[in-house]
Symmetry: C2
Subunit: 241 residues, 2 copies
């Protein structure tokens, strides 16, 4: 299977997705050396610069690593969440060999408070869907999430199966492609309610994560506030100078 020049997607994006797929399917394993730039150039009949662009983006995403004169290798993924990649919880846990599941605690259509309305850039009177979900890995609570999505972007959202990936529903049913997010992370301590939900003690440390996700045009789609167990969750990020 090669690249599809009739596709609307740029060639470098297709090549990138193709290489990701090889990794996800296990064709290319951790620490495997992938074909050279010149080999991929020949195999897929694209220019070396196109190949390089695809690879460099995967390097920036922490998926590949490369060394001059040596080659390009599949990177070992860490067990902690990769902070720089916009993945849903489901995909993150799967990448870590854990069995993710979701328990929808509440799902409703409400009028948002002013903070949510500002973040999603809504007009007065516009409603949102609010989803309250518990996130589990191997049947153990990891995080509690409250998501807000603008009602007008996905009417009837609550009629879909929200025990599965919300991102998937948005993409497949509403043609909404999430592309960017701004995320903040700070420390807190668990309230009684949060402690009960997460199977921890009141006043235990938690990580409070807020994320505003947008589409390719930086249009706000979803605002999430998540509470992560401080004892179970450690965020990992790779930095470059």
């Amino acid at each position: 299977m090669g690249l599809n020049e009739a596709s609307r997607l740029p060639l470098y994006v297709q090549l990138k997705e193709l290489m990701k797929e090889k990794i996800e399917k296990g064709e290319w394993k951790i620490n495997d050396k992938i074909p050279s730039e010149r080999d991929l150039e020949k195999d897929y009949d694209v220019s070396r610069m196109t190949v390089r662009k695809a690879i460099i983006e995967l390097v920036n995403e922490g998926i590949l690593t490369r060394k001059q004169g040596k080659g390009t290798f599949v990177k070992e993924l860490r067990i902690e969440q990769d902070l720089v990649k916009l993945n849903g919880f489901t995909q993150e846990m799967r990448l870590r060999g854990l069995k993710p599941s979701t328990r929808v605690i509440d799902a409703a259509e409400i009028s948002p408070d002013i903070d949510v309305r500002n973040k999603l850039k809504l007009n007065l009177g516009e409603k949102v869907f609010v989803l309250k979900r518990l996130r589990l890995a191997n049947d153990e609570p990891m995080a509690y999430e409250v998501s807000y999505i603008s009602e007008k972007l996905c009417p009837d959202l609550l009629n879909h199966n929200l025990n599965q990936s919300l991102y998937k529903v948005l993409t497949e049913e509403y043609n909404i492609a999430l592309k960017y997010a701004m995320q903040s992370l700070e420390a807190g301590i668990a309230s009684k309610k949060e402690a009960d939900l997460l199977n921890i003690n009141e006043n235990d440390p938690i990580l409070i994560l807020e994320r505003l996700t947008t589409d390719g045009n930086e249009r706000p789609i979803e605002f999430v506030k998540s509470i992560y167990r401080g004892d179970k969750f450690k965020f990992l990020v790779r930095l470059t100078g």
Copy 2:
């Protein structure tokens, strides 16, 4: 002032540093549109691809933003620390308009415990410098840091002025260029000692950050454990899908 082709630095890196300098000096202000790719190509007598590479890296670092058909603009910096950029505390605070300062609490040469030794890949018997510093912004404690650096990489380190940037000392005096880091972030609560150092109450929430910084060859240089005030510090990260 243009690019220096005699310099060992690649042209795109020089151009990148030059553009950063214009922003830091205020020549290019927040939301300013910078010269077009084709203008920079002419001004600096480099290829458009070289210009693009410099700009794209600044975009990835959250410094510039761009829109097809419109232009490239200086991004508004957030007040929270950008998690994906490897900057020292000093530079981070300056980028936020805060006055950074450092108070060295202790500096010594010690034998590392096994955890530090493993992280820095040291042999038995090799010593480290340990630096314990309080990080302040506008004279208020923000973080408490303990750094470990291999003694053999920078003999006589303690003879240098460590109230200024450690990274700067390593670069200028020991020719060590820090390039990558793996960083983890988790929640905790302040011990009595930590609370006293940071001007907070015992059991207040804190962010515990551990970072292993390496040079370009992924050789471990510095291991840091930092305690950030949970009330004052919020990490921000921009994600892409």
